[in-house]
Subunit: 186 residues, 2 copies
């Protein structure tokens, strides 16, 4: 129960993306739920060999480290290559997964490590969804965090598109023209 | 995408339970995430034959109807036997799962119907977790919604304990003395 109550603090971690109704910033707990629902709903877009149930579990856990390290927006300065952030997340993983019984803690940690490494098919699909959801919220809210960070189409393609097409090519094929249309409109 | 963006509105549905840090009321999106994490973490407490992956999927969906019908707190007047609420939830399920392609809509709806019917092992475990999480948040926040609704130990046992012990006897055995201790202390 120590782990589950500590995990509840993820509701206090604010992200840089607006909720779909534009009412406020999304937090990392509801973001994790939304992503798990994306995985469940978009299972037909997963490359062959992906286990959706493993992807869902990965996504439920993927942001827990932010309880200690906070969320670093994609488009914030230095977000692309932050060794300090990575070190903070590793310390957070040690502490938070350390609240579990050892065997279970190791299993959860292995799933988080796999997500972070972004190498297996499951991790690449999970990571693709993590990059796929915010643009859809931005499109639904007239720009959202793209406006906040003064982002252009090329930055979206480079920082978001690369990851999406790496894990879920068909989702990037679907999203890419919608993003292009949004930025042309401006 | 219509379904997934509509689902995002679950972040705007406020529940009667406080978040673990006591900062504000929990919303149904983050509640759904927390429950899925409970299922994943407490899998050893599930009765034999339960599929945790199906339980997780059920919990990710279980509150979507509240986008239209709102959350009815356990201890609110009339919460135990509200035909009006049930009818509103059925209309909501028709509309929300109707946003999906027909086959997928039917599959998601079947999972929600199974949860609501509370008969299968998976549904009973999922429902037990839905009743198990709020008392833990209440204990962590010094009473939480029990204080708001002026609830006593007997009401908790009747409205919450019955469901928990029906789907996850070992979790009720663990929780029950903690609840008794809390109310004795007052």
């Amino acid at each position: 129960m120590a782990f589950l109550m500590e995990a509840g603090r993820l509701t206090a971690v604010e992200r840089a993306t607006w909720t779909v109704d534009g009412a406020r910033m999304e937090n990392s707990a509801e973001h994790s739920w939304h992503l798990a629902l994306f995985a469940m709903t978009l299972s037909d877009e997963a490359p062959e060999g992906v286990s959706i149930d493993r992807v869902i579990r990965m996504l439920l856990l993927h942001d827990l480290v932010e309880i200690d390290s906070g969320d670093l927006p994609f488009f914030a300065d230095g977000a692309e290559d932050s060794a300090a952030q990575a070190a903070a997340e590793t310390r957070a993983a040690d502490r938070i997964f350390g609240l579990l019984p050892p065997d279970q803690g190791a299993a959860f940690r292995a799933l988080w490590d796999e997500f972070e490494a972004n190498e297996t098919l499951d991790a690449r699909f999970a990571k693709a969804l993590d990059r796929f959801q915010p643009p859809n919220l931005n499109l639904a809210t007239g720009g959202g965090s793209w406006t906040t960070y003064n982002v252009d189409a090329e930055m979206v393609r480079r920082r978001v598109g690369t990851r999406i097409s790496n894990g879920a090519p068909s989702l990037w094929a679907w999203l890419s023209p919608r993003i292009a249309r949004f930025f042309t409109k401006d």
